[in-house]
Every structure is written in C-alpha cells, then in structure tokens.
Amino acid sequence: MSQTEVGATAAPATVRTPLLELKNLEVTYNQVVLAVRGVSMEVQEGTVCALLGANGAGKTTILRAISSVLTSQDGEVTDGTICLDGDPITDLAADKIVRRGICHVPEGRQVFRDLTVEENLRAAAFTLTDRRKVESRLEMVQEYFPKLTTLWKGKAGYLSGGEQQMLALGRGLMLDPRLLILDEPSLGLAPVMVDEITRIVTEVSRQERVTVLLVEQNAQIALDLSDYCYVLENGRIVLDGRSSEIAENQDIKEFYLGASEGSSTNYAAIKHYRRRKRWMS
C-alpha cells in the first residue's frame, strides 16, 4: 500500500531540508529477504528522533543502511535514497559517511574488546587527523563519563555492560558528529544504568547540539527521550508523529508500553491486534 504517503503527510510541518531523509528505502538481504520495505522518514536538525519497533522489525537494518555497513551481512539497498542535507549519500562507503558527520553507535555495545578504553576512543577518532582536536575530544568524553577515566588503561572487554555502553557512546562523540545514531542503548542494562545513559544522551544532544536518531525496543525510553517518533513494524513505518502524541496513542500504550487493561488474551487485545494488522497490509 502507500507507505510513502504516511511518511509524507505526517512529516513535521517545516520547510527546512531535514538533516537526514530516507525516501522509500528498501533493503534486501541475500537478494531475497526484504527486510525494509519502502521506509520514508525525516530527521530534523537539532532534534531527537526515535525509531520504535519490536525485534526483527528492521530497525537495525535501517541504521546499517544509513552508515553503509550492510555488505558484511550480504544486504543491499535495493531501492530508495538516503539524503544528508538533501544530498544523496546512499552509495557512499562507510568511511565517507563517517566523514560526513554521521556516527553510528552499534547495538549490543560492541566495544573493541582487546583494546584499552583510551585506544577504543582513539580508534573511533580515526578520521580526525588533527591531533589537538583528538586530545580535546578525549577530554570532553572524560568530562561526560568520569567513570571511564578511572578505567582508562584497562581493556574494554573487562568493563561492565554499563561501562561498555558509556564507552560506546563516548566513541560516538569522538568525531563531533552532526548525527548520532544510537542503536538500542538501553539493551541489556540494569534500570539504574538505563537512567544514567538516558540522562547523558539528553545532556549530549542539548549541549553538543547533536541530532540524535535513536532506535529502541523500549518504548518508554524512546518516547521520553525523543521529539518525534516513527513506529516500525515488519519493515514498514506504521505510525509517526510527535512523541508526546504517540505516547497518548491507545494502541502504542498497549503494544509497546504494556498498559493493557486486563490480560493480553482478552478480546480487546485481539481487537487491537486486528486493527494493528490493518495498518500493515
């Protein structure tokens, strides 16, 4: 059906060129598996945009398409374009994308385990050739994450989950990105840690004026943090709008915030499920 229409009509009412724009993006794995089916979305400069969806909805695939790291998993963009400042970047190599100011913090933290904390950060600053800039960014990361300073010379593989997530975020900040892509920063972390990470992301996005594209399964976090939200199901955007409005949406409350009345097997839930199915077909 007309997924593009959903994106087009519900896009924020601004005339500015969005910082990042996906137009009808389609991604295929192994030349047969269609993981992303015509997704259109816009991320406005200076905002936090969330992409919400369950496991396997295609969230990570979209992010990998943006940072051009699909090939290692045999995926490719089969249709549509990705634009940065209105400039197509769909076919650029991964390192070029990074140089254009897009930084991707991968899911599951994925720090360089055999490298020290410091080396992880330095590796992330690879595209920065100005040494003084590297040092000043290192200092900045230490200010945001004082905890990392105490672990500076330790191997990243030995850090706790929360510390690794801090390191992963710190790595993302090394390049002074214009767009920071966060893939499930809350995944597998203790609630205290999640709060800490959430606080830091908010702080960073405000103080460093970084635009953030946040991917989450945890709707509460995604909606709290973001200004605008897209809901992805089965590789399609099924709903988008201001996060404050989305949070009030009855279906979202039930499916993602777990606020269903009664048990999940009752009639109401099934009815909602049917209604949700209608959006997707």
Binding site: S67, V69, T71, S72, A93, A94, D95, I97, V98, R99, C103, H104, P106, Q110, V111, F112, R113, D114, L115, E119, N120, R122, A123, A124, F126, T127, T129, R171, L175
Partner: protein
C-alpha cells in the same frame, strides 16, 4: 657452558628469522583473518631483489636493503589489491588456497628471473666477530646484525601498534571489523597496509637468511618452519611472534647441538603439535570469542 651459550646465541639468531617470518603471518592474520601461505615466497623475492641489487649491480648493501624494503611494501600492497581484494567476502578457505597459488606463482617467476642456483648475500662486515669477555662465546657480525635488526623491527612494530593512529585502527579492525567500519576506518586500506608490512618483514627475514647462505627459490619453505613459531606465540599476538620465534630457534639449535642434526628438524613440529594440543590459541593469542 660456553657450548650451551654459543648454541643459545645462534639459536636466538635463527629464532629472530623465525620471529620476523612469524610477524609477517601475524600482521596479515590480525588484520584480515587470513593465513598467508605466500609469506615465505614474498620473503624469497625480497631477498633475491636485495641480492641482485647489491651483488650483481654493486649497490651498497644498506642502500639495496632500503630500496628493497620500500619495494616489498608495495609488492604486498599490490598483491592485496590485485589478488586479495577481489576475493573479499569469499570463504576464508578459498582465500587461503589463493595464497598457496600465489606462493607457487611467485616461486615460478623467481625461478625465471633469478635462476635456480643457491646464492649468498654478502654482508659488509662479514667475517668479523666479537668475543664476549669472560665467557667463551663468539658473536659473528651476522649474528649481531640479525639480532639488532629483529629487535629494531619489533620495537618499531610495537610502537606502531600501540601509539600510531593506523596501528590502533589496525588492532581495532582485528578486534571487530564491522564496528571499525562504522567508526570510519577504511578496512580495505588496513588490509592493504597489513600486506605491505608483511612484505617488509618478509624481506628482512629473507635478507638475514641470505646472509647466512640460504638463498634459493625454495627458501620460502623455511617460512613453513616458522609457522610453529607464529602458532606458538599466538597467531594474533605480535609479542607472541618474537617469543615463539626465540623459543623455537633456541630449542631447535639446542636439540640439534646436543642430540645431532636429525633432531633439529623434528623439534619445530613436536613443539607445534604439543602447543596446539595444550593451548590451541598459542601462548599469547586470544581465545576467539564468537560475536554475531
């Protein structure tokens, strides 16, 4: 005692060669997870080029060596570009087979270009030696040169991997290629650089062997003898290469010296098998953690 020390010294010298060859294996393996069976033949080519420049064309030894080192960097670079890059994404097994093919190709070309006879690279200070006072041990000029060159090379590699932007990027790529890419590291360049460096250490090893009188087109087989050194140290550990090489060299020479030459050859393989049984990832290698 002095016999033991003398054997140890020559063991260390031959161990240096193993260490350098092992370093070649390690660099490529670290960056690309490929076992480069062409390492020995890259070494042979480098040695022959140095020999041709210095002995046939009369260039001063160190100039010839310097030029060859630069050239071998580009040889490695070109091999990666022409042969390995197109194989990207193919199963590692096929890539390894390709390196074996590459090895025999280089050997064939070397046979045509440099002939099949055995040669020796003349080291400028050849014949001179230093007697260590107190103990009855003689260090030949070749021994000293070998040990110095190896130590300097490993020092340089250590600094490169620990301190430089490219070195850290190379380790990051070895650790997680996918994420390295996301951080803007061009993994293709990293792999080309690794092959270039492998060419450089290969040439160094080959030239040292050449100085010791081992220069013929099949000298690349020696690299297979150094393979246990790389495995012993751990295929992904730079420091492991030097320790592995030293252990192997000394063990070989001691066994050969005390038990007779026949045991010498056996030692490397006994060590390899024992190490693989006890510590499959080597003394300093990291256990592979599967990440999906």
């Amino acid at each position: 005692m002095s016999f033991f020390l003398q054997l140890t010294i020559s063991g260390l010298a031959i161990g240096s060669v193993y260490a350098l060859i092992a370093l070649g294996f390690v660099v490529v393996y670290k960056a690309t997870r490929v076992l480069n069976f062409a390492q020995g033949d890259m070494m042979m080519i480098g040695a022959f080029v140095t020999f041709t420049l210095s002995s046939t064309h009369g260039w001063p030894f160190f100039v010839a060596l310097g030029v060859t080192l630069v050239a071998s960097f580009f040889l490695g670079f070109v091999i990666e570009r022409l042969v390995l890059r197109p194989m990207l994404g193919q199963p590692v097994f096929s890539i390894i087979i390709v390196t074996i093919g590459l090895a025999w190709l280089m050997r064939g070309i070397a046979g045509m270009a440099f002939g099949h006879s055995e040669q020796r690279i003349t080291f400028p200070f050849s014949g001179e030696s230093v007697r260590l006072p107190g103990v009855d041990v003689t260090l030949s000029a070749e021994n000293i040169a070998t040990l110095t060159m190896t130590m300097l090379t490993f020092l340089a590699f250590f600094v490169f991997f620990q301190r430089t932007r490219w070195g850290i990027a190379m380790r990051a790529t070895a650790s997680n290629q996918d994420v390295a890419q996301m951080m803007g590291i061009n993994v293709n360049r990293i792999s080309a650089l690794a092959w270039g460096l492998a060419g450089v250490v290969g040439t160094l090893a080959g030239v040292i062997l050449g100085m010791l009188g081992f220069l013929f087109i099949h000298v690349g087989d020696t690299a297979l003898r150094a393979f246990p050194a790389a495995v012993l140290g751990g295929l992904d550990a730079t420091g492991g290469a030097v320790v592995g090489g030293a252990i192997l060299g000394v063990a070989e020479t001691l066994f050969g010296g005390y038990l007779g030459g026949a045991y010498r050859e056996l030692m490397a393989w006994i060590l390899l098998i024992v190490v693989l049984l006890v510590r499959p990832f080597g003394l300093f290698g990291s256990k592979d953690i599967e990440r999906v």
